[in-house]
């Protein structure tokens, strides 16, 4: 009896520990993603495949943790608003929107890139605009989604020909509005991703694309997590990342490229253009390499510096403020992918 009484505090402590550990997991993991021109709740690429296969749902089913996904039509800026409002825990967005969000104090960290490939950028023009070369863009109405990687790439292209955003009339257009705007002559040109149905119809012309000039293409986008979630649930964070990395591994295989393209078509792209964009890109293993390398960090620091110089953000900060490197290294190692994506 006395032994039992003596053991009671220990049992109670153990019980409390178990309870505390049981509470150390969320009821739901809220994941943000970019929307698409068809307004469908789908994303493409590696994360799109993870979503389709329900890998995250399977991973956390045993813990009773639900997965909630929200697809924001306004892409990165929509996810930034959601983070600011405490509506999502994870997300994936382009480089510039994350750089801008962090500059404004958003409490999130990048835990992986979303592939080293980055997105190609296409400049489509209305033939009636008289634009024949990049320099003709001066003074013209150009539609692009401000605050996204498209803006950053476009500003860099302008910079290379001695222009700035002040030399053009920038119109803030999300991708779903760009086609109609160009077709109705609301803008002279658009800066877009690979989709260009108006070029196919002869309504618009393709002036420039970064397949020929990869130095201007988008940098690697990223997967981010809120600091609060990562600090409160580090193990869950690593498991989410590991599941997503499985998607990047699958996407990096040559035999899965047709499936990747088919998945992208479901988000509203044109098959021909997505395929051409894919072919004109890096080999799959490189394109879907999610590793945060010193080159990636250097690239992001350059984006921060360029954004300050261009007036996109006001606060200059060190890239380490934006990245949390605690998770990816161990996750890659546990999956054996550190021997697949090898960086010297």
């Amino acid at each position: 009896m006395r032994k039992w009484i003596k053991a009671l505090p220990v049992v109670a402590l153990l019980f409390m520990t178990v309870i505390a550990q049981a509470e150390e997991k969320p009821k739901v993991i809220r994941i943000g993603a970019g929307g698409n021109s068809l307004n469908l709740p789908k994303s493409s690429g590696a994360t799109g495949w993870v979503d389709e296969q329900g890998l995250l749902e399977k991973e956390f089913a045993k813990d009773g943790i639900k997965i909630e996904r929200t697809y924001y039509k306004s892409m990165g800026p929509g996810q930034n608003e959601a983070i600011a409002s405490g509506l999502i825990d994870f997300g994936s967005a382009g480089d510039l929107v994350l750089v801008v969000g962090r500059a404004g104090g958003l409490p999130y960290k990048i835990i992986s890139t979303s592939g080293a490939g980055g997105g190609n950028v296409y400049i489509q023009v209305n033939p009636a605009s008289g634009i024949k070369s990049l320099k003709d863009l001066k003074g013209k109405r150009i539609g692009y989604a401000k605050g996204t990687y498209l803006q950053l790439c476009f500003v860099r292209i302008l910079d290379a020909i001695g222009l700035t955003e002040k030399d053009i009339k920038g119109v803030n257009l999300i991708s779903s509005d760009q086609i109609a705007a160009l077709a109705t002559n609301s803008v002279d040109a658009i800066v877009s991703n690979s989709d260009r149905p108006l070029v196919d119809q002869g309504v618009a012309q393709l002036l420039f694309d970064t397949r020929k000039y990869p130095q201007f293409k988008g940098g690697p986008g990223a997967i981010f997590v809120t600091e609060a979630f990562a600090n409160k649930y580090p193990d869950i964070t690593k498991r989410v990342l590991k599941t997503l990395l499985k998607g990047y591994y699958w996407a990096s295989k040559p035999e899965n490229q047709d499936a990747i393209i088919a998945s992208s078509v479901k988000t509203g792209g044109t098959y021909k253009h997505i395929k051409a964009d894919q072919i004109g890109s890096l080999p799959p293993k490189e394109k879907y390499d999610p590793t945060i390398t010193p080159e990636v960090l250097k690239g992001y620091q350059e984006i921060i510096d360029f954004s300050v110089k261009s007036g996109i953000i006001r606060r200059k900060y060190n890239v380490n403020e934006l990245f949390d490197l605690r998770f990816q290294g161990p996750a890659l190692k546990e999956l054996g992918y550190d021997k697949y994506w090898v960086h010297k």
Partner: protein, 448 residues
């Protein structure tokens, strides 16, 4: 070209392009799968169905079939466009809202269902400027009045004097016609700052919520743009208007014009700032009104009496929190004695009203990007919004015990894109009557 027609053309082009691509991408060596092979009944499985559905490579005959199908579809759509789809000479956007209410009160004989208002609004561009966004647009609204008759509400032209394409630059507009006066918050704000069913007492008592006919210049200065969120907030917003001063759907009753002005200072911060949504505003309205003794017009008193209103407001609306406060003074000249302007004795009455509102929200109704999600269904961010408001009105500051105070607690439930359900419980204390009463109102507000 209307948006519908454009969408149809783009859809058709995409379908043709897709069919061509399917044909072009087919390897020449690939043999079409056998079509129509007989599967014993009962032995179908998903694989069988899938194979039949995909049908292998597309032949020229298949392509001809698709083209024929598209041509039929095009003809059908053309017929629908001609016969069943409304058309307009210029761009047109139709919207509207209706309020259906049940109200009950502790006062005898005051309860029942009420069809409170119905508003139909037509908007569009008369001339769209693609160069700089200096466009002409129109607004025509029809609303039901207390007698359930439709009458014009908004009826004005709007012209963008300055550019309106670059969100980093200031905007400047002019409105001409019948429109709402831009005085303070209560009389003008939308539902994100106005959770109660009824506006504050001073808004109607001082004629601030009614429309008037005139011209209004308004715009903003020093816009702050936070690209990380597609967020734009100008440091200064201003409005200056010149009106008849005789109210809605009424010609001018005198030669004088009323002048209205408003300036608001917004916190010049990015989206992720605790100060976002903080606004300090000030408004004035000065004019002349007919000199009345009671309700009788004094001879030669047309437009000879002073009418002025001054107001200040403070708001902090940053979801999930909301707070608004407004203070208004009114000065109205009336005749105490006499029958003509020359022999009348005049007196200026000063009235005063103020209101304070707090509200809190659970849900994503007021997050712009959350409302525009990619969804398969007709989901909308369900949002709950409890609030409390105190509303005070003193019709004559020189007289004691004539104030009316109304305290309202309420709950708003947003459950669809254009629909909300509102519950308000009000405790009012009219010291002049004197009458204390409690009232309850439940209202559906739905729009399209």
């Amino acid at each position: 070209m209307s948006r519908n027609k454009l969408a149809i053309l783009v859809l058709g082009a995409l379908l043709i392009g897709h069919a061509n691509l399917q044909a072009a991408e087919t390897p020449e060596t690939e043999q079409p799968k056998e079509q129509g092979s007989v599967v014993p009944f009962g032995s179908e499985d998903l694989t069988t169905a899938e194979n039949l559905d995909e049908g292998g490579a597309i032949s020229q005959a298949d392509l001809s079939g698709v083209r024929s199908e598209l041509a039929t579809l095009r003809d059908q759509l053309t017929q629908r466009l001609d016969k069943t789809i409304a058309n307009s000479k210029r761009s047109l956007s139709i919207s509207g809202s209706t309020q259906t209410r049940y109200a009950a009160s502790t006062s005898p004989g005051k309860s029942g269902f009420l069809f409170n208002s119905a508003i139909l609004s037509l908007k569009g561009f008369l001339k769209k400027d693609y160069e700089e966004g200096k466009s002409f647009s129109y607004t025509l609204g029809l609303g039901s009045n207390a007698s359930y008759n439709l009458q014009p509400t908004d009826a004005y032209l709007q012209y963008s004097i300055g550019q309106s394409l670059d969100i980093g630059q200031p905007y400047l507009y002019v409105n001409i016609g019948q429109q709402k006066k831009q005085f303070g918050l209560e009389a003008t704000t939308t539902e994100d700052k106005q959770p109660a069913i009824n506006t504050a007492q001073f808004a109607s008592k001082l004629g601030l919520s009614s429309r008037d006919i005139g011209i209004r210049l308004y715009g903003d200065l020093v816009p702050i743009v936070d690209l990380g969120y597609n967020y734009r907030i100008p440091l200064i917003e201003y409005s200056l208007g010149l009106y008849n001063g005789s109210g809605t759907n009424a010609p001018d009753t005198n030669r004088n014009k009323d002048i209205e002005g408003r300036i608001a200072i917004n916190a010049p911060v990015g989206y992720y700032s605790p100060w976002r949504g903080l606004t300090l505003g000030s408004s004035f309205y000065r004019g002349q009104q007919d000199l009345l003794k009671g309700t009788t017009l004094i001879t030669n008193g047309d437009g000879e009496a002073i009418k002025s209103r001054y107001g200040a407001d403070l708001s902090y609306v940053s979801a999930p929190l909301g707070f608004t406060a407004e203070y208004v003074l009114g000065r109205d000249e009336k005749a105490l004695t006499g029958t003509t302007l020359a022999n009348s004795t005049k007196k200026i009455t000063t009235s005063r009203g103020y209101t304070v509102t707090f509200f809190y929200e659970w849900g994503e109704q007021f997050y712009k990007n959350s409302r525009s999600q990619s969804r398969n269904d007709d989901w909308w961010p369900t949002t709950f919004q409890p609030f409390i408001r105190y509303d005070h009105w003193d019709p004559d500051t020189l007289l004691a015990n004539n104030e009316t105070a109304v305290t309202t607690v309420g709950f708003n439930f947003f459950f669809a894109e254009t629909t909300k359900f509102q519950l308000n419980y009000s405790i009012s204390d009219d010291k002049a009557t004197p009458l204390k009463q409690n009232s309850f109102a439940a209202q559906f507000q739905f729009g399209f």
